[in-house]
Subunit: 216 residues, 2 copies
């Protein structure tokens, strides 16, 4: 496991000719779907960009800034847009609980209990306008951590990108995102370009154990 994770790194250049297999992509999507989240809120949507047309649309969102990430839009095998709900409200949570009821996970009493008590976590972190996007975004970083581990296991290269233009994505993918979702980061996946990916050969740089782990 440590070997998997030590070998993973942020790829800086992709080989356009290599594609993630359909089987691996199905695994990746299922891992995203299964990701844990606070109160099992799942306040997210994952837009998987596969086609040349969609890649071009994503590439266009780099016209104003973060051009250093633009090549990934068309050279990576896929790009996953991580979108989170901006105002995660009771209606959203009800939809989620309906799924739990359908799965036989809870009875009406449990449903009511979750709706009144557990939902408090989403309310507590909302501002006066019901905006709890910091919280929903944090949940989507759990999915990111989960899938980065997955990619390390599958030996697929990746590039997490906060360097994306959220405003341009909002315009370009308005239809797919829907009104109340934002996408502030994306993940490129694929296989590195051996010559151009300077980051691959560099040693991993992490703080020393004693700087980040305290045992009590």
């Amino acid at each position: 496991m440590i070997e998997d994770l030590s070998n993973r790194y942020t790829s800086k250049a992709y080989d356009k000719t290599k594609r993630v297999s359909a089987e691996d992509l199905a695994t990746i999507e299922e891992v995203l779907r299964l990701s844990p989240s606070s109160i099992n809120s799942q306040p997210w949507k994952f837009i998987v960009i596969k086609s040349d047309e969609a890649k071009q649309r994503f590439s266009n969102t780099f016209n104003k800034k973060y051009q250093f990430n633009q090549p990934h839009a068309t050279n990576a095998s896929e790009i996953i847009l991580f979108a989170n709900k901006i105002h995660y409200n009771k209606e959203d949570f009800k939809k989620r609980l309906d799924a739990s009821m359908a799965a036989g996970r809870m009875n009406q009493k449990g449903y009511d209990n979750m709706l009144t008590k557990a939902f408090g976590f989403a309310e507590m972190v909302a501002d006066e306008n019901g905006n709890n996007s910091h919280w929903t975004k944090a949940q989507s970083y759990i999915a990111l951590g989960n899938v980065l581990h997955t990619l390390a296991r599958l030996n697929i290269d990746s590039t997490p990108m906060e360097g994306v233009d959220a405003d341009e994505i909002k315009k370009e993918f308005a239809k797919e995102l829907g009104d109340d979702y934002e996408c502030t980061f994306a993940l490129a996946i694929g296989y590195h370009n051996g010559e151009k990916d300077y980051n691959r050969k560099l040693p991993k740089a992490r703080m020393a154990k004693e700087d980040v782990i305290i045992e009590l």
Copy 2:
């Protein structure tokens, strides 16, 4: 992999007599340390609560609220406090870059470049007082997603808890946290109590694929 992740769940009761092995705990700590983060900022600290004394200290932080999580404090094998920097500043990032220089990852030009350009990501998300805790906290959720995947692989049960009293933790663990760190969530790990862990037997509840994945 899907089997690992389908079997993981949030444990609701721990068997006090079962301990995570030293080997597994070392793996978990190394996985946390290796976690990726934006601009490789690593704006975190992980406090691993192992001893009975430290467990009692953690248990005391539940005196005011979230008592439903209090039993985990003393019954779980370990509890990991995830702490993130509140004002992640240039000095913090310099320390990180020093580690990169030491690892032979960059030269002075790269160092200067990271400090001026990459650090912009941390500055951009800060408020007028330099508080960028929403961002540093989101990074620590990557570490959470990474370690939850790890625990699933190791067959170790776990309970992520946003239901912790950040103010009380700040007081009780002031010395270990240091001035500018907050802990707003923790992770209990160990082995479930077969009789009391009602959540273990319940089916997993996730939104359907078509509700969360859009392929383009």
